[in-house]
């Protein structure tokens, strides 16, 4: 009775205290976390793993900041400091991130180097060059085109992307994050004995060893417990192709040899330091090339009546997954050789390599004053085409055929056909020896390198870039139509269309353009991506919810639509009915994109008749049954899965502090034992007796 009353009273009081106090977690008071940090992840291929890895609980160590080369040398020579600390997290200026500095650090510190944090002081203090790709990009395996000489296209490339680090590497690029970090550092790391700042980097990656091991582990499931845990995903997205819908060769018609012209561009890029919400780079490669491809498609769509008179098909193709060993192109050619290009309809006559007339690729276009036309091989290139192009646009300079080709998807097209069936033309800002992109394949490759101020860019603003694109693509379209189709037409595209494309791709993909060219349900899928540009990262299969592919699909197919339907009054239902009769083309009812329509047509809605196909672009290694992923016949890149990424600062107490904490803990421990013994001795509560055996 007494005891229950005592218990009730104590419970009542403790409830009052709990509700009255402001509960804070001790952990939150100890750490300051940086949420906007970029991180490096693990990727695997058939033989190696690349990237960075941390432990499950995060890598922590004493923070040491290195601003420039002098401080770097001082640090390496400071033996006393290095010997007295067990683990370091080096905070380094991003300008010092190259293989020589990283190698020196790793050799000097060995296992004491627990992580690397890079910082960018401010946007105006970017390094002049920053590229973690190889010096000769995409040149690792023998399934590339065998070229006479190796050219270092990316001469400032450090190659650090393709190395494997046993510690995590992260990067902070926000100015206020950097300033906060510096403040902590100066406050606490002034002398060696005072409490120091420590950092904890957590970027634990699930994947390990090679793609073969990782994909095998994906499938292991001991179904007694729970769902199988995913370790990695194959790299791949969608290859999208479209052409004028009126020109379809269906069985039993015969397709003429050399009647198809492929026009291609890439849709992906990579960066060593990724972030969930942030600039993904890829402005100079491939965004400008993609914008140019879509503009070219619109121009061809404008003159479709002329183009149709000849029997040549102009197929526009975007390839995803080429940044890592050309997986997308290899898959495309694999499909073509097996007779599944174009796919989707059994009755459409297949395109084989002998039907291809030539390939035109738009690649690595920066806003340079001169553009270069690479072509290969010299035995098959059409000199009149090159001459016409140069005369139409003097900015374009031809490079002698049989010169080494820059890293471009055409290399794979040529190699797979032994360069004997069709020529490839690459229009690029890369000259004979250099890519001319200082930030090739890094997150610094953003619209500011194209003289675009993103904060003032509007949907309709005319920028230097859009003027440049118009200047380049109009003569190209004219030459294309003249040379391949034989018709002399004057092509002009409205500047507004290019402005809109630039805005949508580089600033905000949820723009009026995409809503005008697709129906409402598709348009709604873009709303979550409001105020974000088109992401240019490595996509993995199953294709994540990236807006890139729907955007390209709907815009490309709209630009190449059958324009005769612009004048016909359809209802949504009658448009749908058309689709049931025609299995080759797609029909959708949309609001209509005004700058693309002629002034004569003004209807409330338009039925769009178009031709569109999309195919998975994962490497054939993941598609072939029973393929051994450790072979190098096909590229086998996979990207790891991860859960939490965190970057936290905390204070490492001095040695004295730690010893005092330990002693107090031991004292409390022993005192509690004595208290209990005393209680047992002096009271007769049966609760404290040993229980009956």
């Amino acid at each position: 009775m007494m005891y229950s009353l005592f218990f009730a009273i104590s419970l009542f009081y403790s409830l009052i205290f709990i509700s009255g106090s402001q509960s804070k977690r001790v952990g939150d008071e100890m750490y300051v976390s940086f949420d906007r940090a970029r991180y490096c992840v693990r990727r695997l291929n058939a033989t190696h793993e690349i990237g960075c890895q941390s432990t499950t609980r995060g890598n922590s160590g004493r923070m040491y900041m290195i601003e420039n080369d002098e401080e770097f040398k001082t640090y390496l020579q400071g033996d006393k400091m290095i010997d007295s600390v067990t683990s370091f997290i080096i905070v380094m200026n991003v300008r010092l991130f190259d293989s020589s500095h990283v190698d020196q650090l790793m050799n000097r510190l060995q296992s004491k180097l627990n992580g690397l944090l890079l910082y960018l002081k401010s946007n105006s203090s970017r390094p002049e060059y920053f590229s973690s790709d190889d010096q000769c990009p995409n040149h690792r395996y023998s399934y590339y085109l065998n070229q006479t000489e190796t050219v270092n296209w990316n001469s400032k490339g450090t190659g650090l992307f393709f190395r494997s680090f046993p510690f995590p590497i992260m990067l902070i690029d926000e100015k206020d994050d950097y300033e906060q970090l510096v403040r902590f550092y100066r406050q606490f790391n002034s002398s060696h004995s005072s409490p120091a700042c420590g950092l904890e980097l957590k970027t634990f990656q699930n994947a390990a060893h090679t793609s073969k091991t990782c994909m095998r582990r994906n499938d292991i499931t001991h179904s007694l417990i729970d769902l199988p845990e995913m370790f990695c995903d194959p790299i791949g997205g969608l290859n999208i192709y479209s052409k004028l819908p009126q020109m379809i060769t269906s069985i039993p018609q015969e397709r003429q040899p050399k009647s198809v012209v492929l026009i291609l561009a890439a849709t992906d890029s990579f960066q060593m330091f990724t972030k969930i919400q942030g600039s993904t780079g890829g402005a100079q490669q491939p965004a400008v090339a993609l914008i140019s491809l879509l503009t070219l498609a619109h121009l061809v769509g404008q003159v479709q009546d002329e183009v149709r008179k000849q029997n040549k098909e102009l197929v526009f193709l975007t390839i995803d997954g080429d940044t890592l060993d050309y997986s997308g192109s290899i898959k495309f050619l694999y499909d073509m050789n097996r007779g599944s290009f174009p796919g989707g309809n059994k009755n459409e006559q297949r395109i084989k390599p002998e039907h291809i007339h030539s390939i035109i690729e738009l690649q690595a276009l920066s806003m340079t004053d001169q553009l270069w036309l690479h072509s290969y091989p010299s035995s098959l290139t059409n000199q009149t085409f090159i001459n016409t192009l140069v005369s139409n646009q003097p900015m374009i300079k031809p490079i002698s055929p049989d010169s080494p080709l820059p890293p471009a998807s055409s290399q794979i097209f040529l190699r797979e056909t032994s360069s004997s069936l069709f020529p490839a033309y690459i229009l690029s800002s890369a000259d004979a020896t250099q890519l001319n992109n200082p930030y090739y394949h890094s997150f610094f490759d953003d619209p500011s390198t194209l003289s675009i101020d993103l904060s003032t860019l509007e949907y309709n603003s005319t920028t230097k870039l859009s003027l440049w694109v118009k200047r380049v693509v109009e003569p190209l379209a004219q030459t294309l139509v003249e040379s391949f189709v034989g018709a002399r037409v004057n092509v002009n595209i409205q500047q507004e269309i290019i402005n809109n494309l630039v805005y949508c791709i580089l600033k905000n993909i949820n723009c009026p353009l995409i809503h005008n060219v697709s129906n409402q349900s598709v348009g709604n899928t873009f709303v979550p991506f409001d105020e974000t540009p088109m992401p240019f990262t490595i996509n993995s299969y199953p294709t994540a919810k990236t807006p890139t592919f729907p955007f390209i699909q709907y815009v490309l197919s709209y630009f190449l639509r059958d324009r005769s339907y612009d004048f016909l009054n359809f209802t949504r239902l009658s448009c749908k009915e058309r689709a049931s009769n025609d299995s080759f083309r797609s029909y959708r009812f949309v609001g209509g994109y005004l700058p693309s329509l002629s002034e004569n047509s003004s209807l409330p809605g338009y039925c769009v008749r178009s031709y569109l196909r999309s195919v998975q672009s994962i490497s054939p290694a993941f598609v072939i049954d029973g393929y051994d992923l450790s072979q190098t016949t096909y590229p086998a890149w996979t990207e790891s899965r991860w859960t939490t990424i965190s970057l936290r600062v905390f204070i490492i107490p001095t040695g004295t502090h730690e010893v005092v904490t330990l002693i107090i803990g031991i004292l409390l421990f022993s005192v509690s034992f004595f208290v209990l013994l005393a209680l047992r001795h002096f009271t007769k509560l049966s609760l404290l007796q040993p229980s009956c055996s």
Binding site: Q53, T56, F204, Q205, N206, A207, A208, H209, T213, R216, R217, I220, H222, E229, F231, S686, Q689, S691, C692, S693
Partner: protein, 148 residues
């Protein structure tokens, strides 16, 4: 009276009686009336005491454990060997002791054999898990994340 004292009293009582269980219950009933708590248990919660069992019952238990261990249960053999060690070697001989002794010896041998098998397999697995290729991964119950 404390509880240990109760048990001592029970066992003293047992050794002078053949019918083991009844005597203790009488004394336990007295204890119940002294204490208010009902946490004092009768023989129900106690461990089986071999001294209270007849020799035939002891042999029966030993045999059950011995045969049970053949069903890939080496712990039964281990318990058998430890528990009946005193009965087999240290107590004065009685007719069933010879058979109990063989069971105990064989259980001990079986335990050792199993111990050897388990240790060898453990070492082999840890050393060769990564070198076995796919077999290593399929034998692993919790596949490691983040390292090979």
């Amino acid at each position: 009276m404390s509880i240990p004292e109760t048990r001592w009293r029970c066992e003293q009582f047992h050794q002078s009686r053949t019918n083991a269980n009844n005597g203790c219950q009488i004394i336990n009933a007295q204890i119940h009336s002294d204490y208010e708590e009902s946490t004092v248990e009768s023989n129900k919660g106690n461990m089986v005491s071999l001294e209270k069992k007849s020799p035939e019952e002891r042999l029966n238990i030993c045999r059950k454990y011995y045969f049970g261990g053949f069903a890939f249960l080496p712990l039964l053999w281990l318990i058998n060997a430890i528990w009946f060690y005193k009965q087999a070697f240290k107590v004065e001989p009685y007719p069933q002791q010879a058979q109990i002794r063989t069971y105990v010896i064989r259980s001990a041998i079986g335990t050792l054999a199993w111990l050897l098998i388990i240790i060898i397999w453990n070492v082999l697995f840890q050393v060769f898990r990564t070198k076995m290729g796919p077999a290593g991964d399929y034998l692993t119950f919790v596949v490691p994340r983040g390292y090979y």
